[in-house]
């Protein structure tokens, strides 16, 4: 069993800079946990502390129930895949794969068997006698993956392993890694993964759960759907989702038939479900959050429709990202191409927001007050 547990983890760098502020994280055995966040939010630092490449300034990390704070990286039962592959440049692929096993004094026959096994899984058999500089980026990354896999570690650590690849290769590697993880799990082998990325597509498609970080703190840990549908705060709401969620300052008004949001000269009445979710102590000064996908064109004589002036329009083939102004506030809306073309003749369109998917955030604290 290889659950990873991080308690009150802190990191203070040499210069006195505090990079990690008391992080708590539980990764279950076999879980694929993605750490995501903007550049500089200490994803790598956290991962490197798990790996033992960085000293721990406070708190503790345990793997499989054993505190590993003071163990050398090689004794922690982890394997790591680096962003720039970090293959040993002077060793053939075969030696790169087997380096760890050779250090551990594994028997020759066993090493050969495992190299062959890994080579088959990752389709790098024909590359075994090449030097790293003779590999393409994708091949090198597969070898790096193989070097982790061959050790049969308890926990796999990935630090942005795909960010040096082009978009297509990245997509196929994503699938490959996910499948590999599934296969290991099915075989009953240890397959706990901590995967660092700043790419939310990677995070959403690969992670069983996602840990969103900001400036050395965890903002939310949840599965992809929850993260998307129920972001706990403004940061997560703005970070997850493409295009970004529209965040507009508004006044929360309590009326006899429920809540309404006023921004500019527009009023957005909340649906019944959403009304029920709003916290009792929700403040008046709020930020309303509405995903670009949660707009639709309004029926011709819908009294609740919002009038939107159309600005710049990004054509994406099957849909458009239209930048519009509603009641003086800027929004991005995603609409199907044909419908949009028809509707946008006069430079204005009438939109209807999905009232049950409006998020309301306390403007002062950033907390989502519509989750109850």
């Amino acid at each position: 069993m290889a659950q990873l547990s991080i308690r009150n983890l802190e990191k203070i760098y040499g210069g006195g800079f505090k990079a990690v502020h008391g992080v708590d994280l539980e990764v279950a055995d076999g879980e694929f946990m993605v750490l995501v966040g903007p550049s500089g939010c200490a994803k790598s630092t956290t991962l490197r502390m798990i790996a033992g490449l960085e000293t721990i300034s406070g708190g503790h990390i345990s793997i499989g129930g054993k505190v590993v704070n003071n163990l050398a990286p090689g004794d922690r039962g982890i394997a790591m895949v680096f962003q720039n592959y970090a293959l040993y440049p002077h060793m053939k692929v075969r030696k790169n794969l087997s380096f760890g096993l050779r250090l551990a004094g594994e028997k020759k026959a066993e090493i050969e068997r495992r190299v062959a096994e890994v080579a088959e899984v990752l389709e790098i058999g024909p590359l075994l006698d090449r030097l790293p500089k003779q590999l393409s980026g994708g091949q090198a990354q597969r070898v790096a993956l193989g070097r982790a896999l061959i050790k049969k570690p308890e926990v796999f650590l990935f630090d942005e392993p795909l960010s040096n690849l082009d978009a297509k290769l990245r997509a196929s590697m994503r699938v490959r890694i996910t499948e590999l993880h599934r296969r290991l799990k099915a075989q009953g082998r240890s397959s706990t993964v901590v995967y660092v990325t700043h790419d939310q597509v990677e995070a959403m498609t690969m992670g069983d759960r996602i840990c969103v970080m900001k400036e050395g703190r965890i903002m939310q840990v949840a599965d992809p759907a929850t993260l998307y549908e129920r972001p706990e705060n403004l940061f997560v709401a703005g970070f997850i989702g493409m295009p970004e969620m529209n965040l507009v300052e508004a006044e929360l008004e309590r009326g006899p038939e429920g809540h309404a949001l006023r921004f500019g000269d527009q009023v957005l009445r909340l649906g019944p479900e959403q009304n029920a979710r709003i916290a009792a102590d929700a403040p008046k000064a709020v930020t309303l959050g509405l995903r670009p996908q949660h707009f639709r064109l309004a029926e011709p004589n819908d009294p609740e429709a919002l009038a939107a002036q159309v600005g710049k329009v990004d054509f994406l083939g099957h849909e458009v990202d239209a930048h519009v102004t509603i009641g003086g506030a800027k929004f991005t809306v995603v609409l199907p191409v044909e419908l949009f073309r028809e509707a946008a003749q006069g430079g204005t369109i009438r939109l209807r927001a999905d009232e049950n998917r409006v998020h309301i955030f306390d403007r002062a604290s950033g907390a989502n007050v519509s989750l109850a």
């Binding site: 090689g74 970090a86 050790k151």
Partner: protein
């Protein structure tokens, strides 16, 4: 129809014009290249002339050496080499070459090992007092050699190491050449530490990382270090002069001087012939190692 013909001929004109331009450019390029190479060759020959003369003169007889400034001997003779090799001491020059080898080989090996280890420590580890230690290392670079000669001599004489090779070997076993350490530290700083971290994750201890990962990546730099140390030691005159007193332990550099001292009338062709031989190892080693000098092994391990 006529329109297309017009277009065609216009296109043809443009092609011809381009070809003319190209030919002109090529001619100009060639002339400037010939000029460049002529100048470079002339300067090169000028710089090399003493060496060429040395080699030529070593085949002349004694009377001719100062008679003509040219370097081609009128009637070439090997007598300089034959007599020079015998020397005026009980030993042949072969003995002195062997002595030189006895000094150089351990010194080069010790230097490479100790400097690599020390540089690795400075480049990759954090430890208290590191800045001060590194600063004092660099400070020794700035210190003129002469300043340390006397204390060093006294120290080694106290230890009873005079007239042995120990004073020449031992400092190099403790990374005594700050310059090499500095050079390797700079080289290491340009190599990303990821490979070493990968090795640590693979279970390597620090010394295993040094031997299996760092040293191979440092190879071009280590070869440079070995080469410099080889040439400097080969040419070192003062060190052996100070510490060695018995002729049987003399390296080539001292032996050359010896032949000037002892012969009453200098047989210049003997001295020149032995000088040529003394130069040979450095040249051979340099040309053999040139390839590694240039080749950077670390390229390709990290793709950016």
């Amino acid at each position: 129809m006529s329109q297309t013909m017009l277009d065609d001929s216009a296109a043809f004109d443009a092609d011809a014009e381009a070809a003319r331009h190209l030919a002109l450019q090529e001619r100009r390029g060639r002339i400037s290249m010939i000029l460049r190479y002529a100048v470079l060759t002339a300067v090169g020959v000028l710089m090399l002339y003493p060496l060429i003369w040395l080699i030529g003169a070593s085949f002349k007889n004694n009377a001719e050496i100062f008679a003509s400034p040219g370097f081609i001997p009128k009637d070439p003779t090997l007598s300089g080499y034959v007599k020079g090799w015998e020397t005026s001491t009980p030993y042949t020059f072969g003995r002195f070459f062997w002595n030189t080898f006895l000094i150089i080989a351990p010194k080069v090996i010790f230097t490479v090992i100790s400097c690599a280890a020390v540089a690795y420590g400075f480049a990759r580890f954090q430890f208290p007092g590191k800045r001060i230690l590194f600063a004092s290392l660099i400070a020794t670079l700035l210190l003129p050699n002469v300043v340390t000669r006397i204390p060093q001599y006294l120290l080694f004489s106290e230890m009873g190491w005079l007239d042995s090779y120990l004073p020449l070997w031992v400092p190099s076993a403790f990374a005594g050449d700050a310059f090499f350490v500095f050079m390797l530290v700079q080289f290491l700083r340009s190599i990303p530490p990821d490979m070493e971290e990968a090795a640590r994750v693979d279970g390597a201890k620090s010394w295993q990382v040094l031997i299996f990962i760092v040293a191979p990546m440092l190879t071009p730099a280590l070869i440079s270090v070995a080469l410099f140390q080889f040439m400097w030691t080969m040419n070192d005159f003062l060190g052996p002069l100070i510490y060695l007193s018995s002729v049987e332990k003399f390296p080539v550099s001292l032996a050359l001087k010896l032949s000037i001292d002892t012969s009453e009338a200098f047989d210049w062709n003997r001295i020149l012939a032995m000088s040529v031989l003394a130069l040979a190892p450095s040249l051979v080693v340099f040309f053999m190692a040139q390839k590694y000098f240039i080749e950077g092994i670390s390229a390709g391990g990290v793709k950016g």
